[in-house]
Symmetry: C2
Subunit: 311 residues, 2 copies
């Protein structure tokens, strides 16, 4: 099994509110075809790749949002992606809103191998935003209203020659995300994001600072676990005043950005990722068995919020 994977981060321009899944999937399929023509092994699509980022909409009745969710995968809309994958032996990862037969809602990403088999499923653990309408915000970010926190943890899968994991958007800011996968020997983390260029709460942060946060989080997660990280944006204006950052990138196990999107449109960012380059740091600086001191990590699990010392 070769250990060099040619990976395409398939950045996506905006999905508008009224874009049908058929129109959107045609764009994804076009990127998959380009990736195949460039001999890629794997295409990583973004979070909620099939729809606009609907958590900016408020609905009193949450069920009104169900049309944004997928009840089956593949389904009629996404079958062309699976068909292309199996016919052309190219893997992919895809983010979408998942509505289960039991009526549960998750922000989900799947990993599909070169035979178009779904080999992995991840459900977003760290939901940002809020559950109720908040007037103070320039725009709503209602992920906590429309999704449950993921119930699958941070699993990894051995497939396509490596140890693969996924996370989604806000998950990338939390070192716990990468560490739980790092403890399973992860060599490639795939993630999509829909991240507004401005914080709806104001504050002093600029689009430049927020892009820095975006890359810093992925670079640190890559280095500190000696893994490749592929981060894929949905970018551009999905609605007036609602601009999503781009900056899709591929990060090597030293935490260096080795390839990066230049636009805010549909754009492939391609790199040959040698999974064996994970080994040096995994066996030296980040030989976890030799160096971690779990007896001092207890609060990370025992305590959720911060408890500063008394004033």
């Amino acid at each position: 099994m070769p250990r060099v994977l040619r990976i395409a981060a398939a950045q996506q321009g905006p999905n508008l509110e009224n874009d049908s899944r058929q129109v959107i999937v045609a764009r994804l399929l076009e990127m998959m075809k380009q990736a195949k023509a460039d001999n890629c092994d794997l295409v990583v699509f973004t979070e909620t790749a099939l729809t606009t980022f609907f958590p900016r909409f408020y609905a009193d009745d949450r069920a009104e949002m169900d049309p944004w969710f997928e009840r089956d995968m593949p389904n009629d809309a996404t079958r062309p992606l699976f068909d292309f994958a199996s016919e052309n032996k190219i893997g992919f990862s895809l983010g979408y809103a998942e509505l289960t037969p039991e009526g549960r809602h998750f922000n989900t990403q799947i990993l599909v191998d070169k035979d178009a088999k779904i080999v992995g499923k991840y459900r977003k653990v760290h939901l940002p935003g809020h559950a109720e309408y908040e007037d103070r915000r320039a725009f709503q970010h209602l992920e906590k209203r429309y999704f449950e926190p993921g119930d699958l943890g941070f699993p990894v899968w051995r497939t396509m020659g490596g140890v693969m994991g996924m996370c989604i958007c806000n998950d990338r800011r939390w070192p716990e995300t990468y560490r739980v996968m790092g403890l399973q020997g992860v060599e490639l983390v795939m993630l999509g994001y829909n991240t507004p260029s401005l914080n709806g709460l104001g504050g002093t942060d600029t689009p430049e600072i927020r892009m820095h946060h975006n890359h810093l989080s992925m670079q640190a997660g890559a280095y500190q676990n000696a893994t490749w990280v592929v981060g894929v944006a949905k970018a551009g204006e999905e609605a007036p005043g609602y601009h999503l950052m781009g900056g899709s990138c591929i990060v090597d196990p030293d935490g260096r950005i080795v390839a990066r999107a230049e636009t805010e449109d549909d754009e492939l960012v391609i790199h040959d990722c040698d999974l064996d380059t994970c080994k040096f740091l995994k066996q030296s600086t980040f030989d976890f068995a030799a160096h971690r001191r779990t007896e001092h990590y207890g609060p990370i699990v025992e305590q959720t919020g911060a408890t500063p010392p008394p004033e």
Copy 2:
């Protein structure tokens, strides 16, 4: 109490094997005087500031290393620092090798307030390197031979107007270090490091990559916990072929390097650190109580080494 602390990272040029503590402390005192003249509130010195980085030496009998350790603090050699602090109302943090009355050895850092009172002590948890002589290395890194892992966890202290924590050198590469302090509301993390510019094990990493690792780790720790981080190097050639990186810096709660050393000598890196700038991210993106999902973090504490899925 003012919430803006003017902090000096006191980078140190090399300490040679035969430099006496008196000679070295005179250099530290000179930097303290400069910092006071520049109205600093706090001077952060480096790891093993009082001696050369002796873990590069091998001794069959570990007790031969005891002369590199301090049995009391303050002691005759370091008293001038404490006297200057209390007379001039300036705090400091100092790293040194500690030999306890019970005969235990730690890589230690203390925090001293403006009345020269030792208000905090930290003992390095993540000891890098190895315990036995290894022929394959270009130079030895015997921290695991000469020190015990720290037994105090990652405490913080409310002093000098903020919530302060410390860690040492290799600790800075581990997100657990910052997170345990972040869970206690830390606003300023002080750390020193003695980091060789080349990995003694070879590998493909260059001094540039290793400097990138150094800064990336501190920037991520700062951002992901919304805290200031002050990183202070011992820099330059302590012996032929044994070159330590510089790059001392002050990192803001957005994970940006706001001040950085330009030399590999004794050099002050000074910045006005407004501890209130920690608040925005602590109350939004990194509102731990709202967003952390500890039910999925168990392996971080339950498992030390990595366990990849079967081949």
